[in-house]
């Protein structure tokens, strides 16, 4: 939505009455790029993209000066460098991003218990209850922005509104480094001039069919009879769009379950057909996923295999276990079975392992026996060794190969 370069920025004056806008959407500005720039303040005003410096990598993040050239995240790095040849490319550091994310999220937690995290760099907050303690939502939003800047050096944008959907649109309009309050009474006058593509749930296909019927703005949709909308985008979709266009969004801010999945994936420099190489890569990723689960005190119940072929078709295969696990060996066994079940396949461009349905370790009722008991003990010892002497010192024998032979040149942890 929008151009993401701040050219349509819109912010509120401090005097706006925010009492009818208790839902905040807080979004860190150009998060990955900003974190990298904390250590390179000299580059702050120059175009910077965060990406692995490799032929086939994609842009992980871009700062605002780079976005002015049309660089966005997820476009190929080669394309980004065509658009902006002067861009400086920085390597991503996902551990750092997680660290800063935790710092920022803990500031949110100080404001209200009702925090719904959306990925690593944004969250919804319901601050209606903070009124007596901190003040009206506008004051809470200003306090969040001050504390985030003071405690991390990062900038964030905040949208405040009566509903989640409008709050998210507002934070987008406030970027970069702004606050936009949409009081309930101004919801429709804010929404209606916006393009239909800004509506939650309108993708490229829906947008095209709406535009094809002369529905260009959210206001157009609000004035279209529900029956007509239902014919255009289906029964459920029509009702949803009609509600959103009229400022109605009943979704509450729900306290979340931290991370929804933990996984790793790798794009190979050269597409891989050799099953042995793929199996070894799965084992390596499964071990890593197990280690991350244990480090976060989590267990996962669903194992997911992801394969992207040379032609970019992507398949996922998943299996749900009888009981959750944090044992890399178990994850490796399951994901290998999933891989074998795929059968013959085209060359693989990307391969990944992910655990879903995460729960806190130890909260699951213990069974009378544990199939993973031996491996669980062994892997905990390996974790200890890794902490003292460096990770990867102890690993499965099939992974004891020169790194160059393993192939993957860049690793893009799934966040």
């Amino acid at each position: 939505m929008g151009r993401q370069d701040g050219s349509t920025r819109q912010v509120s004056a401090d005097s706006v009455d925010s009492s009818t806008a208790p839902i905040l959407h807080v979004d860190l500005d150009a998060f990955f790029a900003s974190v990298e720039l904390l250590e390179r303040p000299d580059l702050a005003d120059l175009p910077v993209v965060v990406a692995h410096n490799s032929l086939r990598s994609v842009v992980t993040a871009a700062n605002y000066p780079a976005r002015k050239f049309g660089v966005r995240s997820a476009i190929p790095l080669s394309r980004a460098l065509q658009l902006c040849p002067s861009a400086i490319v920085l390597e991503p550091h996902f551990e750092k991003y997680r660290h800063y994310s935790r710092l920022v999220m803990s500031i949110f937690d100080d404001m209200t218990p009702l925090v719904e995290r959306l990925g690593i760099d944004e969250a919804f907050l319901d601050v209606a209850g903070a009124r007596g303690v901190i003040g009206p939502p506008g004051d809470v939003a200003r306090l969040i922005r001050e504390r985030v800047r003071a405690e991390t050096g990062l900038a964030c944008s905040v949208g405040a509104a009566a509903t989640k959907f409008v709050a998210k649109l507002a934070s987008g309009r406030a970027k970069p480094d702004g606050l936009l309050v949409i009081p309930r009474s101004e919801t429709l006058s804010f929404l209606h001039p916006l393009p239909v593509g800004a509506l939650w749930g309108v993708g490229a296909v829906t947008e095209k069919s709406l535009l094809g019927r002369g529905l260009h703005t959210i206001g157009d949709i609000a004035q279209t009879p529900l029956d007509v909308l239902r014919r255009v985008v289906g029964d459920a979709g029509g009702r949803k769009l009609h509600a959103l266009a009229n400022g109605i969004d009943p979704r509450p801010v729900t306290r979340d379950t931290a991370e929804k999945s933990i996984g790793h994936e790798v794009t190979f420099e050269i597409d891989v057909s050799d099953a042995g190489t793929l199996r070894r890569e799965l084992l390596r990723q499964a071990s890593q996923v197990g280690r991350r689960l244990r480090a976060s005190g989590l267990e996962g119940r669903t194992v997911v295999l992801k394969l992207r072929y040379a032609d970019f078709t992507t398949i996922t295969r998943s299996r749900t276990l009888a009981e959750p696990t944090d044992v890399g060996r178990r994850i490796a066994d399951e994901v290998r079975d999933l891989y074998e079940a795929v059968g013959a396949h085209p060359p693989v461009r990307l391969i990944g392992v992910r655990m879903e349905q995460l729960t806190d370790a130890g909260t699951n009722a213990a069974g009378l026996w544990d199939d993973d008991e031996d491996w669980r003990g062994a892997e905990r010892v390996i974790d200890d060794v890794g902490e003292r002497f460096g990770t990867d010192l102890v690993r499965p024998a099939s992974l004891m190969k020169p790194a160059a032979e393993l192939g993957p040149s860049k690793r893009r942890p799934h966040l």
Binding site: A322, A366, L368
Partner: protein
Amino acid sequence: MKFQVNRDVFSEAVSFAVKLLPQRTTLPILSGVLVDATADGLTLSSFDYEVSTQTTITADIEETGRVLVSGRLLADIASRLPAAPVHVSTEGSKIIVKCGTANFTLLSMPVEEYPTLPVIAEQSGLLPAEAFSTAVSQVAVAASRDDVTPVITGVQLEVSENSLSLVATDRYRVAIREVDWESSGKASADAVTALVPARTLMEIGKTFGHSGTISVSITNSDERELIAFSADKKTVTSLLIKGNFPPVRRLFPDVAENYAVVNTADLMEAVRRVSLVLEREAALRFTFTIDGVTLEAIGSEQAQASETIDGHLNGDDTIVSLKPQFLLDGLGAVHSEFVRISFTKTDNPNKPGPVLITSQSSKDQPGADNYKYLLQPNLLLR
């Protein structure tokens, strides 16, 4: 085909034949019941490649023949017929059912496409029906209902010289019981086992509960793994679940000197009451002392509850945290006025030792049966 049959006999036979039919099936003909009128009587059968049923009843056969008709529809009709003889005949592809003042016309299904029912092997042994039926209801309660691990959705039957043991588990509890078994084949060197889907076995237990003696045939060859139960001219067959049942017998303690004896009904009542305030999936805390057993529901912010009932303790005071439904399943299965709850110890500090539930005919007298229900407690949270 043309026959006349007693209304109650017919209704009971149809209801038996369709009992194990799947609710939904991909092949419509498998939802049919095969009606076969021969000189020997009227045979009704169903088969969905997993489970088959077959029963033969007496009928006046005027004209032999075979038809396939929707099983549930025929069962619904048969159970509602007035008290009068039932006349069934065919006219082309139609089946006419007449009974008293009622007339039904049903469309027959293509009988040629119906699969052949499995052939039942030689009898392996005989079971006392009532004891077997009770044992199934006691053990199957512990079977897993989660299809993620198919082997534990079954009840494992293990035949030894003169007893048959039934074992089921869902990882959190194990239930086990033995019943008498009269072997009819030549003594086989290998122990015979059969892993039967729990749902099917429960229906079998209910069906044959009053049949006196049940004949069992187990075919455990490589190409076909099948078990058949027969009594009263009724037969049920089921494919066996493939795979190895976990070795759960080793989980049971050899001796358990630390135990409490409690009135079963009192404990069940108290568990049901106190767990009213529990959140879903939460466990109840039980404190066993010389003064009795105290149940506490903790961990919910809205409400708490506690109750103390009488009990006799042998050995040390013990605190365990148990899922109420898992405990109730075990208590409901002991079928005795008192129940013995035995505690075991483990070396693992993160895993309390399992609790063993057995019957107790009086405060001091252990039950005569050999039913055992082993339950894994939750970790104590405080």
